[in-house]
Symmetry: C2
Amino acid sequence: MAKMTPISGFPEWLPEQKLAEDRVVRTLAAVYASHGFVPIETPAVELIETLSSKGVVDREIYSIKRYHAEGEEEAALGLHFDLTVPFARYVAQHMAKLSFPFKRYQMQKVWRGERPQKGRFREFYQFDIDTIARDELPLSCDAEVLHVFLKAFKLMALGPFRMSVNSRKVLHGCYSSLGLAEAQRKAAIIAVDKLHKVGKDGVMKELGSAAGVAPDVAARILDLTAVQCAPRDFVRITGSLGISDPLFDAGVGELRDIFALIPEAFHDFILVDLSLARGLDYYTGIIFETQMTDFPEFGSVASGGRYENLASQFTSQKLPGVGGSIGLSRLMELAFTNGLLSTEQRTFAKVLVSVLSEEQRPRCNEVAEELRAEGIPVEVYFKSPKLGKQIDFAASKGIPYILFVSEDGAGIEVKDLQSKEQRLVSDLKAWGRSLLA
Amino acid sequence: MAKMTPISGFPEWLPEQKLAEDRVVRTLAAVYASHGFVPIETPAVELIETLSSKGVVDREIYSIKRYHAEGEEEAALGLHFDLTVPFARYVAQHMAKLSFPFKRYQMQKVWRGERPQKGRFREFYQFDIDTIARDELPLSCDAEVLHVFLKAFKLMALGPFRMSVNSRKVLHGCYSSLGLAEAQRKAAIIAVDKLHKVGKDGVMKELGSAAGVAPDVAARILDLTAVQCAPRDFVRITGSLGISDPLFDAGVGELRDIFALIPEAFHDFILVDLSLARGLDYYTGIIFETQMTDFPEFGSVASGGRYENLASQFTSQKLPGVGGSIGLSRLMELAFTNGLLSTEQRTFAKVLVSVLSEEQRPRCNEVAEELRAEGIPVEVYFKSPKLGKQIDFAASKGIPYILFVSEDGAGIEVKDLQSKEQRLVSDLKAWGRSLLA
């Protein structure tokens, strides 16, 4: 017998979990589609050259190789490690055939060639959205992306969540007002991003060593990370920080304008958090992360931001964008582990047509087809054993109704497996439609 | 600039093609779900040991390797080349948590590590269904799989199609009645499977060389491949072949019973075809292939059959099954190349809310949200340029309606971009609901 050891880092769900994940995916896709985002998909495989930005393979990439390659030469290929790089390549490659602003959603697996370790996925789904424009992208797009993410988390209904929001311009402005040059500011952002991992002392140390910041300035930078407030208090509170800097003012103004375009009802889910820095260097405006607040130690499950140029490595066309990514598989893992998502549903079938003898199967199939034509998923029992077995089957699958067809095929009775009531069905199609209501 | 050369064999669709593919996928999933099939998904990655049946890597497998592996030892991993092997591993591994008969659908990419060559995909979607039982699987399941496939092709509405059906038992029975031993019969099946590729002479030759069949018997085998008939004529025509063999009789009886369980309306799409043999050695009963009849040279786009034991390499539990696979990406390629599938839809949005000044954007967003609450996908224009630009945008995306919000925010007018008519909307929600009808 071959081994069946699960491979660490490659998650696999049971059917009822996959059904639950599919419901979440449909919810997300519907939200994105309702705002005019369109789906795209790219191959899992890209040239290693594409995946390696500026020639350096700086992420844990899986390369792929034909097992029976017999030494032929072919361009080196690898599995994508995120959806941003393939999306950039896609937009640059198909630019003439896309209409801008290009708003896309994309749900695909990504692979990370990491050392196997507990809790780390090496294959997982990301669900991304981005809005890209040529040359210039107004703040209405930032607001829409945030609005859509907030809606998505509300509709997934996995429990309380909070979106932390900040702006790279606000951070650069703060640090600039403290006298940091651009390279120092970038190093300071990388240091501050590690606050939750290495603590205040760790950040202090890195601000000194990597950003070359004096201890009193570093302390001031750390003070700023404590600033957290609701969107409604944000202009007042940032105004009281005593920072005078044009970049800072621009960042504050942008956030204010973005919040003004997000319906008030969603403001309670937003926290302006000046400790939020994000590690990736390409963000230039708003940045955000999303936490399930009952599970703070789990970290962010969705994040993103605004960037100046999506695809500078592929095209000279400037393509500013704003977008974000939900770590879908991680979120599902959290949901399954903590019962945040019902996995009660084990089948789409709402009705089991019992089969009392093989002679009546054709008639049972007809009955099932009549209900399916009304939009009711129906299972017909695959054998014709004693009724008890068929009722057990329906119960074990969570199918709520079981139908009995009379020997002459004319009469149909239905049993409600919850109430145990049994009654004649005079109008099958009407009864079927009543299940949809 | 990095290269953007498409990698041969890794197809990628434009957004409007992806929208069309998604519609096909929803159609297929809905058909399968309506019969009680449930979705599963397995990782793209399996142990090479799992992928290599009986220790031999006999398919073109892509192995994967961490780019920065630094010489650590880990089990060899590869990308799955079909969904059958992962499904077998899945069922064996999770057997205790599944309920049987287990009916699953599974749409995933598979990878074939082939030499790059024109027209061959190296990454593509397959959409599989299978019904698996413990120990014994009745013919009702074969009939359901065929019925579901026939429905699926009808509902995809890609043009005329035909399902060719045969039975391994019928073939073994025929060859047995001609005096062939089991090993010879298996070799004969492999030879006959190549008929459309190598022609009659080629099959004749292989029947002699590989199956050790005398020329007169080989000629008789070739004669049998000419037998084609409708399901309604099948018992009569096979009865007139003068074959007396218990396996043959059993196969004929099974096909007859299966056809009896498929609604008459679908029989016109079925052709019993004794030249159909299928190359894979695990089939034991019914076998089928499906062609788009306007494109015979394209070959089969969906195929499958009955097998005795799904997962003998993983478990001693006998798991007979019946199922099949649609080569989704190949089918989409055919559909796109030949215009079988509309790619008119370029967005889900049914309405564009125009924005005449940034001051009115919040009100425009409110209007959009009211419509979205009624289930209407709505796009709000991202900037506020002259109206002509916004109308052009709606037209280029195929959005049928454009809304204008009055300066005071109270009045809303709608323009139908097809009829060019413009009128006041007095009840926005009611108007929205009218779009759904």
